[in-house]
Amino acid sequence: MLAMVLAPLIQGVINRTKAVAAGRVGQPLLQTYHDLWKLLRKGAVYSQTTTWVFRAGPVVGLAAMICAIALLPFGAFPALAPFAGDLVMAAYLLALARFFTVLAALDTGSSFEAMGASREVTFSALAEPALFLGLAALARQTGTLSLTSMLGSVSTAMWMRAAPALGLTIAGLGVVFLAENARIPVDDPTTHLELTMIHEVMVLDHSGPDFAMIQYAAALKMWLLGAVIIAIAVPWHSGNPLLDGGCAIAGMFGLAVVTGIIESSMARLRLLRITQLLVAAIVLSGLALALVRR
């Protein structure tokens, strides 16, 4: 529930960080909420060349993301519906959402959107192994296949024991976080240049409530991947659920600030180089797994 409400705020924090770094006042922290509200009140325009696939894209994308959030624990709160192996489910819910976004993009028949779809699947084909290897390393470490018990059992004691593996996992997942959420250095969320976009170009033809669903699903996705990283990076458990929850939320905002700082301090990579970055993420996660296998 918390995720559903707070997710759009993360983007606000990132944008505010970037604005401060550039010496600007910046947009309000709650801008994403305003945008969503504005889009929901608008009508949607559909191209005559599109089919039901185009309309299904945002709905399926959002539904998959909400289901994935239901599998995610946060702070001391367990997930709504945890079960053994739900991490595989969560990863494939993300893949399902992406699959439908890509289909909807291809459905428009636009050369831009097809170009974006091609880029998206190329990069996610590399991001997915990195995600899985990272989660596998964690699963091996904690001996469980459920996100709730897995993320809940990361503790300071575990950090003492296996800091290198956990550190590598965070690095690998961090790259996946940036790539999956279309952040610099992989994608530029603020660009208006359709030829350089990856994620944005696929949703150019969506409007109104459909676009709001896409934006909201993107915010949830960022929350989801961010929460996994924060659960590993902030391993303290006080036993007080409120304190732990607050700690995790502070961690999320901290992650947003770090993302904002990364975006303010470096340029986007050349498109060809992104694959190298993602392969590096696979190697990091793979190393983490190798370390815990030993």
Binding site: K18, A21, A22, G23, R24, S111, F112, A114, M115, S118, I184, P185, D188, T190, T191, H192, L193, E194, L195, T196, E263, S264, S265, M266, A267, R268, L269, R270, L271, L272, R273
Partner: protein
């Protein structure tokens, strides 16, 4: 490469009238050549150190078209004019002289004269011709033409524009791609064609100066200076020293503002936010200096035939000097961030490279040419006004890529800043305006100005009454658009916005 003077070879064909920028010459002194002599003269000139500054048609006798070529020799710092008479067609120059490519398409479009053998004969502005004939379509529609296309199962075409996602001018771009690689880019413009050249015929009138100031919105000073120098040459006005200094100051302020804005936009295109944000603000600081001179951030109303429209007092000069120093310091800091970011350099270097040979063959001008190592700058080669007394060193950089075009702008910012500092320190006293008299009849004048984007060429030709019979404008973009298309070959399509911004060409200056 050792420069070799070109006039000798031209003189073999004809006794040549060689003259300077801003010098009125009687029409009867312009040699009327046969088309064969005309072609030989141009081809031999451009094969040495000359470049084609302008090539255009105007109505001739008996319904014929008179072609006029302005050839600029940067070694002897002189211009030569050639003319010939054509009717329906003539053998094209483009195959042997790629510089003529765009000019010949323009001639075909305007005057229905077919340059035979032209490899790429399509409209460039999509307007109805000035003369009836059967060469090209009589009522073209912008963007409707035979685009180059490639066929094959793995080749795809991407069409961008004329409506773009950002707030930029309209232009249509067709990419022939294989995956992310660009084989070929074709650029189709003309959406901003307003018919300025035709509107100037019969002038000068009250509206003329305003038309010239808005030829290309970001180059108001450059174009109005070129226009005024033409008028002053025809009207026999001697510009007061104070006005010359103020014109030079305005021209360099325009360069500073635009170069700073471009560098910020280049940083923005690679997603490097700090420099993008700072340069956007600093560009405004430079524009505000121009506004302090004349009340308009783009310098409208400042440059007037015979001098300048606004004077500056001593306190204002001191204030301008202080504000300039502050802005220059800021831009230095903002760019230090840009040059020190490895991720930015990785994007800039080896992107959109143009070799020096290609640059010279296409006749690129301005920073785009100097970034290929070519020493080509009107302020040195054909100086007028204050630039005859105060030289600005030419900046150049050899690598020809996006980095070179960015770095060159930084070099020019430093040189222009130093120049402005000197000028502010010694603004001569005296009047600011010395009105021009009535224009000489049956004369021709060429005025060249190094605008921030490159060589601006205005050619004014008067009739017997001293009215414009033809007014030809060549914006630097007219020379350089083809350079952008060539720079994109074998590049990544995702690098196009970056390459495009590194040229930052004008659409309305091209479309006129």
């Amino acid at each position: 490469m050792k420069p070799r003077a070109c006039l000798v070879s031209v003189e073999m064909v004809t006794p040549l009238s060689s003259f300077h920028t801003g010098e009125a010459i009687p029409l009867r002194e312009i040699p009327n050549l046969s088309i064969a002599e005309f072609r030989t003269a141009i081809l031999s000139a451009v094969s040495s150190t000359c470049s084609l500054a302008a090539l255009f048609g105007m109505p001739g006798e008996n319904g014929h078209v008179r072609l006029i070529a302005v050839v600029a020799d940067s070694v002897t710092n002189s211009l030569s004019i050639l003319s010939t008479k054509v009717d329906q067609s003539y053998p094209c120059l483009t195959l042997e002289c790629p510089q003529a490519h765009w000019f010949e398409r323009e001639i075909a479009e305007q005057w229905q004269v077919r340059p035979e053998g032209h490899p790429w004969l399509k409209p460039i502005r999509f307007h109805a011709p000035y003369r009836s004939g059967n060469s090209l379509s009589s009522a073209p529609v912008p963007g409707v033409t035979d685009f180059f296309a490639m066929a094959g199962p793995e080749v795809h075409e991407v069409a961008v524009g004329p409506v773009h996602a950002g707030i930029i001018e309209p232009g249509h771009f067709r990419f022939q791609c294989h995956g992310e690689d660009v084989f070929h880019l074709e650029i189709s413009l003309g959406y901003q064609h307003r018919g300025v050249e035709r509107a100037l015929v019969g002038g000068p009138g009250k509206r003329t100066i305003h038309l010239v100031e808005t030829l290309c919105g970001d180059t108001s000073i450059g174009h109005s200076t070129a226009y005024c120098e033409a008028i002053e040459a025809l009207g026999g006005a001697a510009i007061p020293a104070r006005a010359q200094v103020l014109r030079g100051v305005a021209l360099e302020l325009e360069r500073l503002a635009n170069h700073t804005g471009d560098l910020g936009a280049l940083a923005g295109d690679v997603g490097y936010l700090p420099t993008a944000a700072y340069c956007g603000r600093i560009r405004g600081d430079f524009l505000n200096l121009t506004a302090a001179l004349c009340g308009s951030r783009f310098g409208r109303g400042l440059i007037r035939p015979g001098g300048v429209g606004f004077d500056v007092g001593k306190p204002l000069v001191a204030e301008l000097q202080q504000r300039l120093e502050a802005a220059l310091k800021d831009v230095e800091d903002a760019l230090a961030l840009l040059w020190s970011a490895a991720s930015v350099q990785a994007r800039f270097e080896h992107t959109g490279t143009i070799t020096r040979e290609t640059c010279e063959a296409l006749g690129l001008v301005g920073p785009a040419a100097r970034a290929c190592g070519v020493e080509r700058d009107i302020r040195q080669d054909f100086p007028s006004g204050i630039f005859r007394f105060a030289q600005i060193p030419i900046s150049k950089w050899p690598s020809g890529d996006v980095f070179a075009r960015a770095w060159l702008r930084w070099l020019e910012i430093q040189h222009s800043g130093a120049f402005l500092g000197e000028q502010f320190a010694s603004v001569p006293d005296g009047p600011i305006l010395s009105p021009a008299g009535p224009l000489l009849g049956d004369h021709l004048v060429v005025s060249l100005v190094e605008g921030w984007r490159g060589e601006i060429c205005h050619v004014a030709i008067t009739d017997a009454d001293g009215r414009f019979a033809r007014y030809k404008i060549v914006d630097p973009s007219f020379h350089n658009w083809m350079g952008l298309a060539i720079a994109m070959r074998n590049q990544q399509i995702s690098d196009f916005p970056l390459c495009n911004k590194s040229f930052n060409l004008s659409y309305c200056g091209h479309d006129l």
